[in-house]
């Protein structure tokens, strides 16, 4: 049995120690927010927070976790089931088309806004760059992150182009 802490709850799971965290979340714990995209750490659909930092859960052997804390999309909601700020913002901006990448996008954006509610537009883009969206809703995703930053009392700063 391997113990892991997800969204504040400790679980015992009976899996091989090299099983990727993503499989444990989906198959053992029925936390289906994180998606299987490529399984190779290239697309970001499986992004979760590990001690507050965004990681590809498809590349995290569950035995590597030890006491470190995992948070998933589900963990961003309030205990009463109210969705997290980013989820509300993504819905308001209708940022999902097929929706497959959105859980990863929200979780990665969460890591940024927890650290800094006043990032620059460039910082948002650079931060989200590892996560791929193939529908092309990037502009809506960016607007949703801007909206969430404002809802958190901050906002995304547009940095004026400098003189050439």
């Amino acid at each position: 049995m391997i113990a892991l802490t997800v969204n504040g709850e400790t679980h015992q799971v009976d899996v091989d120690p090299d099983t990727p965290l993503l499989y444990v979340l989906r198959n053992e714990l029925a936390l289906n927010g994180a998606k299987f995209g490529c399984g190779l750490g290239q697309c970001g659909a499986c992004t979760v927070l590990l001690d507050g930092k965004p990681v590809y859960s498809c590349l995290v052997p569950v035995a590597a976790l030890r006491t470190r804390k995992v948070r998933t999309l589900e963990g961003l909601a309030s205990p009463d089931g109210t969705p997290g700020v980013l989820s509300i913002a993504f819905e308001a901006e209708q940022a999902a088309q097929c929706g497959y990448c959105i859980a990863g996008m929200i979780v990665r954006a969460q890591a940024l806004l927890e650290r800094n509610t006043r990032p620059t537009a460039d910082e948002v883009r650079a931060h989200l760059a590892p996560n791929l969206c193939r529908c092309g809703t990037h502009m809506r995703i960016l607007r949703a992150v801007h909206r969430a930053a404002e809802m958190m009392g901050g906002g995304v700063r547009a940095v004026a182009e400098r003189e050439p």
Binding site: Q42, L50, D51, L59, V60, V62, A63, R66, R68, P164
Partner: protein, 428 residues
């Protein structure tokens, strides 16, 4: 008494003479500022040639701090003497080199003296650029002067201790600066000679791959023996090359142009940036450099025996490092295990890469922690960073496992230090 006075007088005279001599060596006149030349005053062909040479020398690598402001300087370089900030080399008149005449540029490139007469620190590799031909310097000048001028004042470099006094660099130059072009070797091919001129000159390969002495100058008696630069180990490029597969001119050419060698590895760290620049240099020039280095490595072990069979001591490694074997299976195997999808695309096995073969763990540890950007050439996977997935002990154990599984070399003794060093991330 008279003798004493004479002696004192003699000493005073000698001191004055040496001071005067030192002053004469250290002092350089300012070269009059000129109006920035009009971009249209340069022939298009010359500008293109200059661009290709600038890619070969990767000027932008050091002189760009922000991608959107190319060549505007400000990037820091950690050296044992303190942090040096790269200059703005755009043609901005106030903060760049806009008022530098061709003669002023030439003097900076070949002798390390700025337009205003100040000595430049040899972090700017004028000890290499001094070997560039007149035509090459002219082309580079044409290219730089036709770039967009960007107003940006780089932070002032303040070094520690005595090296803060720039005229001392005159002494460094006396000792370590061999001015002028290299004599061609008539016994070698024209490709080899061009390759040497470029490698020793504008491409300044020794800047990273040759160890430096305590004065910060390249130790020519150990040319291309391999050296640490900004927390990365630049491996040997001579008979000491630890490569498993033979470095032929063809293989080097492909590697330098694309950042990926199917018989070796993907270019990592600063070399990744170098290959992304070389991808835009003149193909014949890169080819010539490949010919030169293939000849320098012609006495290396892999040149005598090209080992086709990739070493894989899976069982031995698993027994020695059982926890790391689990980490490898869960985090790495999906790409790197023989038969994995990436391996079907002609990517080299880990056993063929230099990082596991050299006698320090720095490159392996940094690649695990920081990942690798996509190579310049073929489309394909990038390696993700594992710094936030694995803790320090896990990174170290994984490095030890890789060394044990894919080489038959003794275990590394510096893994802990290499991990701490990479985690600190300041390159010192």
């Amino acid at each position: 008494m008279v003798r004493g006075t004479r002696l004192a007088g003699g000493i005073a005279l000698a001191t004055a003479a040496s001071l005067l001599l030192a002053f004469a060596i250290a002092w350089h006149p300012e070269i009059e500022p000129t109006m920035p030349p009009s971009p249209s005053s340069f022939a298009r062909k010359l500008v293109i040639e200059g661009e290709q040479l600038a890619k070969l020398g990767n000027c932008a690598g050091c002189h760009t701090a922000e991608p959107g402001r190319p060549l505007a300087g400000g990037r820091s370089l950690a050296t044992p003497f303190g942090t040096i900030f790269a200059a703005n080399i755009t043609p901005d008149a106030e903060t760049g080199i806009g008022t530098w005449s061709r003669a002023a540029f030439d003097r900076a490139m070949r002798r390390g003296i700025a337009r205003n007469g100040k000595h430049l620190y040899p972090a700017f590799p004028y000890d290499h650029f001094t070997h560039a031909s007149d035509g090459d310097v002219e082309a580079l000048y044409a290219w730089l002067m036709t770039r967009p001028a960007i107003a940006s004042r780089a932070p002032e470099t303040r070094l520690d201790g005595v090296v803060a006094f720039r005229p001392l660099i005159a002494g460094w130059n006396l000792l370590f600066l061999g001015e002028g072009p290299l004599e061609p070797d008539p016994a070698r091919s024209s490709d080899w000679n061009r390759g040497r001129a470029l490698a020793e000159g504008l491409a300044h390969c020794g800047g990273c791959h040759t160890p430096r002495n305590r004065f910060g100058a390249e130790d020519r008696s150990r040319a291309y023996d391999g050296a640490m630069v900004e927390g990365w180990y630049a491996p040997p490029l001579n008979a000491r090359s630890p490569a498993v597969r033979r470095w032929t001119a063809d293989r080097l050419h492909l590697y330098l142009r694309t950042g990926l060698s199917p018989t070796h590895a993907a270019a990592a760290g600063p070399m990744g940036d170098v290959t992304r620049a070389l991808a835009q240099a003149r193909d014949e020039d890169v080819r010539a450099i490949a010919v030169y280095f293939a000849s320098l490595m012609s006495q290396a072990p892999a040149a005598r025996q090209d080992q086709h069979d990739a070493m894989d001591r899976q069982l031995v490694a698993q027994q020695a490092h059982p926890e790391a074997a689990v980490l490898f299976a869960g985090a790495c195997a999906v790409c790197h295990e023989p038969g994995a999808p990436m391996m079907q695309q002609g990517r080299p096995p880990l056993a063929w890469g230099t990082p596991l073969q050299v006698d320090n763990a720095h490159d392996t540890v940094r690649i695990i922690m920081e990942g690798l950007a996509s190579p310049a050439g073929p489309a394909g996977p990038a390696m993700p960073a594992f710094a936030d997935i694995l803790d320090d002990g896990q990174v170290g154990a994984l490095a030890a496992y890789l060394r044990a599984r894919f080489t038959d070399k003794p275990p590394w003794s510096d893994i802990g230090a290499a991990v701490a060093h990479a985690r600190r991330g300041d390159g010192k």
